[in-house]
């Protein structure tokens, strides 16, 4: 007893035993494959099926109605094995290169797979080698280089490993090794298409002008489409490469930042790269759990989009259409987690800004004359070593666990007393009054007094563990009426918003001598600024009240 199925062959219903049906089905499917993807395929298949039905009918002679395996074998023996349909290779190739269908059958696009038969780690390199038609050894050297030189080749490799499927079936292995995807081959395809187009304009079809014209037009449009597609494909790959390069550059910067590596300074000496260092993190957040959390937040916040960038670059280059929603969603969740972590750490650090406290002190100084000369201590190169201050530059600088911050401001105020006084205000923020006050007191700055000259460094400095909490120093030079101050060249680095009669800007005040009068600070003997002259002063007999 055998199970049968009913099948409609060319409009006639047959009962076919299951195994016979399978064989016949297989047979027809194979022929179909041999015919390739041509327009006339369906027509030929219909003819063949019709003949199969006819043969069955003839054989039954109206006596029975079930097709058995032997019937199918008979049909195959009459019709021939699929390969006999084309009677030699010549015929077959003639079919597949049948002009109008050439592009659809020839263009078997190559796909990228990992070659697990020829692998060292995951077969990624040999897969890429197959894809571009390059010997895999070069790809391997490239990755090995990236592994060792920056350690950054690691992440792209892992992404490639995840994204590229491995070649499992024979068909996939063939696709993997197919014609290399390079500019030459893409160009060839376009050229073929163009020649095809030219033929259809000049070719034999001239007899049926209207027909050939419409055919040629449709080919023209196909060709234009091909060219656009070619440009798009090229642009896709180009941007893919750009994405990967940018991604890797960010990865390098990120790893260098995390491990405080020297690479940062090797790549660039500008501040963009030197600021986000380990020390800055400590200055802003401190050490311990919060610093670790901040680091994790930074890795997630920058690292995940970077990996995404590399990922999409890889997908663009290799035309991969993988959609791994699990990875995508978890990356997104991690990224948001990074943002939340960052917020948490930032909010915690903001607590340190709640209270602002000042610590007041005075610098005792008896001037030799009634004129103060103000200048910048760091302006003189040889002063660095004498005062243990590093050769700092920029707004913020960290060296030997000390933070140097360009935030010392000197201004000039009148005083009713008869002596020049120097008031120092150290200001800092903290989580409470005590915290802020302590931080303010710990802060230091450098100054030097030589006879009548006052020299300040524009930098305040404090220990790294005190953290960076808006520390600043305000130096007020208290001038009695009649006293003078000379703002020497270079002191523009330290003065800030000095009030004067003419409301001159700080920079305009440099290089001039100023006298404190009842109306305020006035320029003395200035050429370009309105003020008073020494002669005027004598006439008005305003004598300095200096002892």
């Amino acid at each position: 007893m055998n199970k049968t199925v009913t099948a409609n062959i060319s409009g006639i219903v047959f009962n076919i035993e299951v195994d016979a049906y399978d064989k016949l089905n297989n047979y027809l499917a194979t022929i179909k494959k041999y015919l390739g993807n041509t327009d006339s395929r369906d027509e030929v298949m219909a003819d063949i099926e019709s003949r199969v039905a006819e043969l069955f009918k003839e054989r039954f002679n109206n006596e029975r109605s079930v097709v058995t395996l032997s019937d199918v074998d008979y049909v195959i023996s009459v019709m021939g094995e699929p390969e006999q349909y084309f009677d030699g290779t010549e015929e077959e190739s003639d079919w597949t290169s049948d002009k109008s269908n050439s592009s659809s059958t020839k263009q078997k696009s190559k796909r990228i797979f990992r070659d697990e038969d020829d692998k060292i780690i995951g077969g990624v390199c040999s897969g890429i080698g197959h894809y571009f038609g390059i010997d895999r050894i070069w790809i391997r050297i490239l990755f090995l280089f990236a592994f060792f030189v920056w350690g950054v080749g690691f992440i792209p490799y892992i992404i490639l490993w995840i994204v590229i499927p491995k070649a499992k079936t024979t068909a996939e292995k063939l696709e993997m090794k197919g014609e290399a995807v390079n500019v030459d081959n893409i160009k060839k395809t376009v050229e073929d298409k163009f020649n095809d187009l030219k033929d259809s304009f000049n070719g034999e079809g001239a007899k049926d002008a209207a027909n050939s014209l419409s055919g040629a037009l449709s080919k023209l449009f196909t060709f234009i489409g091909m060219v656009i597609l070619f440009i798009l494909k090229f642009a896709m790959k180009f941007f893919g490469v750009i994405f990967i390069i940018i991604g890797i550059a960010i990865l390098i910067a990120l790893t260098a930042t995390l491990f405080n590596s020297d690479i940062v300074t090797v790549i660039s000496n500008n501040e963009v790269f030197t600021i986000p260092s380990h020390d800055i993190l400590q200055a802003l957040i401190g050490t311990g759990t919060h610093a670790t959390l901040a680091l994790i937040a930074l890795i997630l916040f920058i690292g995940i989009p970077t990996i995404g960038l590399i990922y999409s670059g890889i997908k663009m280059i290799f035309k991969l259409r993988t959609k791994n929603s699990v990875i995508g969603i978890s990356m997104g969740v991690l990224w948001i987690l990074g943002i939340l972590l960052g917020f948490y750490v930032a909010m915690n650090s903001l607590k340190d800004l709640k209270s602002t406290q000042k610590s007041l002190s005075t610098i005792e100084w008896t001037s030799a004359s009634n004129t103060v000369y103000l200048s910048d201590l760091t302006e003189q190169d040889n002063q660095f070593n004498d005062y243990n201050i590093p050769n700092v530059e920029g707004t913020i600088w960290i060296e030997d666990s000390k933070v140097y911050f360009d935030n010392l401001e000197v201004d000039v105020l009148p005083t009713r007393g008869d002596k020049i006084k120097i008031m120092v205000e150290k200001i800092a923020k903290g989580s409470n009054r005590k915290d802020a006050k302590e931080r303010a007191e710990k802060m230091e700055f450098t100054y030097k007094i030589e006879d009548s000259t006052l020299k300040f460094s524009p930098y305040v400095y404090f220990n790294l563990e005190d953290k960076f909490r808006a520390q600043e120093v305000k130096v007020h030079i208290m001038l009695p009426i009649g006293s003078k101050i000379a703002l020497e060249e270079g002191s523009e680095e330290i003065i800030y918003d000095i009030k004067n009669v003419g409301n001159e800007y700080d920079l305009d005040m440099i290089g001039e001598t100023w006298i404190m009068l009842n109306e305020g600070l006035t320029c003395l003997d200035c050429k370009f600024i309105d003020g008073v002259s020494s002669g005027q002063l004598k006439k008005d007999s305003i004598q300095p009240q200096f002892p």
Partner: protein, 110 residues
């Protein structure tokens, strides 16, 4: 160089010529054509014919009409088109020339 390729190449041209010759005496459906070709041992299996007929039809050398059949599905009856007749006439001349050429060459070198 494979002998199969050369044989197939030779047979291909002859096969097309023979099909057109068979149809020159009137229309026929595939089985009839096959039977005649089988007699001459030009083809061994029927499958060969179907792609060939479709190709000749697409080249506008043949046309066909449907006819109901008692013993199965409707049949395609093929016939020569005008283009096909001219094509066949040309082939007849070519064939005569080839025969002469082959005969002459072989006689001389025998």
């Amino acid at each position: 160089m494979k002998i199969e390729n050369t044989q197939a190449q030779m047979r291909k041209g002859v096969l097309e010529y023979c099909i057109l010759s068979i149809l020159s005496s009137g229309e026929a459906y595939p089985s009839e054509i096959i039977n005649q070709l089988k007699e001459g041992k030009l083809i061994v299996v029927e499958g060969t014919l179907y792609p060939l007929l479709t190709r000749l039809k697409n080249a506008e050398l043949l046309s066909y009409r449907w006819e109901e059949s008692k013993s199965g599905p409707p049949r395609k009856y093929y016939q020569l088109t005008d283009k096909g007749s001219n094509f066949l006439k040309d082939l007849d001349v070519t064939w005569q020339d080839l025969m002469k050429a082959v005969e002459l060459t072989r006689k001389k070198n025998a």
